[in-house]
């Protein structure tokens, strides 16, 4: 240290390699389960009104469990603004959906020629599909708005994240790319995933600094491998069935192909996230690396589902049985009108058990699936240069007019 005395006291020390930092996840199963249970019960008791505050509180817990370089993230959204946003969205959607439905029904009637049963069913399903398609632009709009709201209410070291106002631009592109993916039978799925993610990432900010999506869409074909295998398997099975006239194969191969396809989509989601996150940079400051393990995430889903399934079937099986026995006993005692008395005695507790089951499973899912999966995603991230983040400056707040009201009205839940 003293071998070469510094020529000037003000000279900078030799440049060190950038200090990488990985986030930690500090949340535990028990507190989040209790939080989920408490807020879920309040939601039921208030006929659903409390859900805006429930969501807020769960997010506060989860955001504050993510710690980067010694400081925790925070979620600053409020229940009131979510309720207000929901009311706003309901008005717009209610008017729109009401008009669309009546219009489509009229349209359906003018096309009604053969009142045959099959045609009737077909006409209904077409009308149903059209109705679904009618809210699709709003669904895409809502996806962008919800993400913008979440980012605008996220902070780290007091500095706001944020996103540009571009929800309709996103909706138009999303519909276009979805159509393209549909027309090409899924072959252009990577293009859709990449372009839509880039559209969002390029409009996201931390403080005064913009995120940027790098990479190329064709790189996502690697993530689709399992989907291709599933399709090839299905095609091979169909070919063998056709050539050998082997009737036993389809009942086995069809579900197998389906399961493989679902698994393939799951793998695609994890791998495409890894690629896209690893090619995200915070302009001029730092880059990200993501290395989630498909195996770990799959195991966490599987074990969590298994545990919840076992516990809830035991608990609610016992409760349901108890209700049936009590109701049956009451019915016996009442004599002639026994059936009716039994029904009345059973109805209220059964309703309560049903609602409790709903809340219990929600809280358990949070604690045993959503949180462990998120924890894995978070802890396998790395930020390339933690010190550079210190230079990021504050941005002004986003009023976020409808919060995520559209997403809520359209039931676009997601885990958090």
């Amino acid at each position: 240290m003293t071998d070469t005395p510094p020529p000037h006291p003000a000279e900078a020390p030799p440049p060190l390699p950038p200090r990488a930092a990985g986030p930690r996840y500090t949340g535990a199963p028990y507190p989040i389960f209790m939080l989920g249970l408490k807020t879920g019960l309040l939601t039921v008791l208030t006929l659903g009104i409390y859900r805006f505050w429930a969501k807020t509180r769960v997010r506060r817990y989860i955001w504050s469990s993510v710690e980067l370089d010694g400081d925790r993230f925070e979620y600053t959204g409020t229940g009131v603004e979510k309720l207000l946003g929901f009311l706003l969205a309901v008005v717009i959607l209610a008017v729109y959906v009401g008009l669309i439905q009546i219009g489509l029904f009229y349209f359906g009637l003018t096309l009604w020629t053969e009142p045959e049963t099959r045609v009737e069913v077909l006409a209904r399903s077409v009308a149903f599909l059209l109705t679904g398609a009618a809210v699709l632009p709003f669904v895409q709009f809502a996806i962008y708005r919800a993400r913008r709201y979440r980012l605008a209410r996220t902070r780290w070291r007091g500095i706001r994240f944020g996103m540009d106002k571009a929800a309709w631009g996103y909706a138009v592109r999303a519909l276009g790319y979805m159509a393209l993916t549909g027309v090409t039978l899924g072959l252009l799925l990577p293009l859709q995933t990449f372009r839509l993610t880039r559209y969002m990432t390029d409009r996201s900010w931390f403080g005064d600094t913009r995120f940027r999506q790098e990479g190329h869409w064709t790189a996502l074909y690697g993530a689709m491998r399992q989907i291709f295998y599933a399709v090839a398997f299905g095609a091979a099975a169909a070919l063998i069935t056709y050539l050998l006239e082997w009737p036993l194969l389809p009942p086995l191969a069809l579900p197998a192909t389906g399961i493989w396809l679902v698994f393939g989509l799951f793998v695609y989601r994890v791998r495409s996230f890894a690629y896209l996150a690893s090619h995200t940079v915070l302009d001029g400051h730092a880059g990200l690396t993501a290395s989630p393990s498909v195996k770990t995430i799959f195991t966490r889903y599987a074990l969590g589902s298994l545990a919840i399934g076992l516990v809830s079937s035991v608990v609610f099986g016992v409760l349901g049985g108890a209700i049936a026995i009590i109701a049956g006993g009451a019915g016996q005692m009442a004599g002639e009108d026994g059936a009716l008395v039994g029904l009345v005695v059973a109805a209220l507790p059964a309703m309560m058990v049903y609602l409790l089951g709903f809340v219990f499973i929600g809280a358990a899912t949070l604690a045993l699936i959503s949180q462990p999966v998120l924890a894995h995603y978070v802890t396998t991230l790395t930020v390339s240069d933690a010190d550079a983040l210190g230079a990021v400056q504050q941005r002004t707040g986003d009023r976020g007019a409808d919060a995520e009201g559209f997403a809520d009205a359209l039931d676009l839940g997601g885990a958090f």
Partner: protein, 373 residues
């Protein structure tokens, strides 16, 4: 209270070690080393901690700033993790986790809530019914008829018939009597539809009009009626529905309001029950008006056919005797005006001096009652 803590100033995403102690007047926290010349002074009364944090051993402090963003607190953060300091904060600052109140929240909630309610009510009770009326008027009659046919099929299936037409009663004499009754009622009227009346062989006491001029009497009604005039009154009432296009209008309105209500009640447990209930209530308020209108239309038809409109009232009394015991009584009262009011109205529509004659002679009336063989 004297500790070290981590501080971010809310301007950049940098963090620094600071020293925090109680001010000399014991009314504020003084933060030294925060990058400012003088120590920062955070009055104790304005301190707030971020709620619902996942680590109870740490407190993230900030302080109130009334006219700021959604949080109503400053963007600066002070992370206190030294156990004594955390305990001191919990002990001395009970209001630490209270949320700063944002002025005008109650007013905004009332405004938005009222607005949302008004919009939904306007849609359900004004816009959709008006639109349904207009669209029903625009629908070509042959399409309406095709739609009505589907409705009839549906009804047949509900009543337990597997094939179309399996429930139709078609004794030749009975049909002739029915056609005669229909012809006498509609005589001299220019109707928009060709009225097609048929009888279903089922015990249910009911009659209904399907879109496109198709009217169904169910045998239970024929069995229950205490005279031919009562059946004529039912028929006249259903013709009133047909001419007002009520079935088509109701179908269109329901399509719109079910979509809207589904959106409102979709996402909580028991939503489907609420939806059905709400749709029932809305429907009730509409069909009440439609029923009263069909009644008035029926008085006209009956008078022209020289039948006393009071026959409709008699029928209601016969029905009321029956409905008192039937389980569907509640739903009947929901969707129909009070029976006693309708009986009175029908009696009031009858002129004392009007000439009357039987709508069918005794032989034809017997044929009609035996139409199902």
């Amino acid at each position: 209270m004297d500790t070290t803590a981590r501080f971010s100033d809310g301007l950049t995403a940098a963090t620094r070690e600071v020293r925090v102690r109680l001010s000399a007047d014991r009314l504020a926290l003084m933060i030294e080393g925060a990058g400012t010349d003088a120590p920062l002074r955070w009055p104790l009364g304005e301190l707030r901690a971020l709620p619902d944090h996942s680590r109870p051993d740490e407190i993230v402090l900030t302080h109130v700033e009334p006219h700021g963003d959604e949080t109503q607190v400053q963007a600066a953060r002070l992370v206190v993790s030294e156990p004594d300091a955390v305990a001191w904060l919990h002990r001395t600052r009970p209001a630490l986790f209270s949320r700063p109140h944002r002025p005008g929240t109650a007013r905004r909630l009332a405004l938005y809530g009222g607005g949302a309610l008004a919009a939904v009510v306007l849609m359900l009770f004004v816009i959709l019914p008006a639109l349904a009326g207009t669209l029903a008027g625009m629908l070509p009659p042959e399409r309406e008829q095709a739609f009505g046919q589907t409705v009839l099929r549906q009804m047949e299936r509900v009543l337990g018939a597997e094939d179309a037409g399996a429930l139709d009663c078609s004794s030749t004499d009975g049909r002739a009597a029915l056609d005669l009754m229909t012809a006498r009622l509609t005589e001299g009227r220019d109707l928009a539809y060709d009225i097609d009346v048929r009888v279903f062989d089922h015990d249910m006491v009911n009659a209904f009009a399907a879109p496109g001029g198709q009217i169904v009497l169910i045998r239970g009604m024929l069995d229950l009626a205490e005279g031919r005039d009562e059946i004529a009154a039912v028929l006249a009432h259903e013709i009133g529905h047909v001419e007002a296009r009520d079935p088509t209008r109701a179908a269109l309105r329901t399509a719109g309001s079910v979509g809207l209500l589904g959106l409102l009640f979709g996402d909580f447990a028991g939503g489907a029950v609420m939806l059905t209930l709400a749709e029932r209530l809305i429907d009730a308020s509409y069909s009440q008006k439609a029923e009263a209108r069909a009644d008035r239309y029926a008085y006209g038809l009956l008078r022209e056919a020289q039948v006393e409109p009071a026959a409709l009232g008699d029928l209601f009394e016969t029905l009321a005797g029956e409905a008192g015991e039937a389980p569907g009584a509640l739903s009947h009262f929901l969707s129909h005006p009070r029976l006693s009011d309708r009986v009175e109205a029908a009696r009031a529509a009858t002129r004392e001096d009007a000439e009357t004659r039987p709508i069918l002679d005794d032989a034809a009336w017997t044929d009609l009652r035996n139409i199902c063989g």
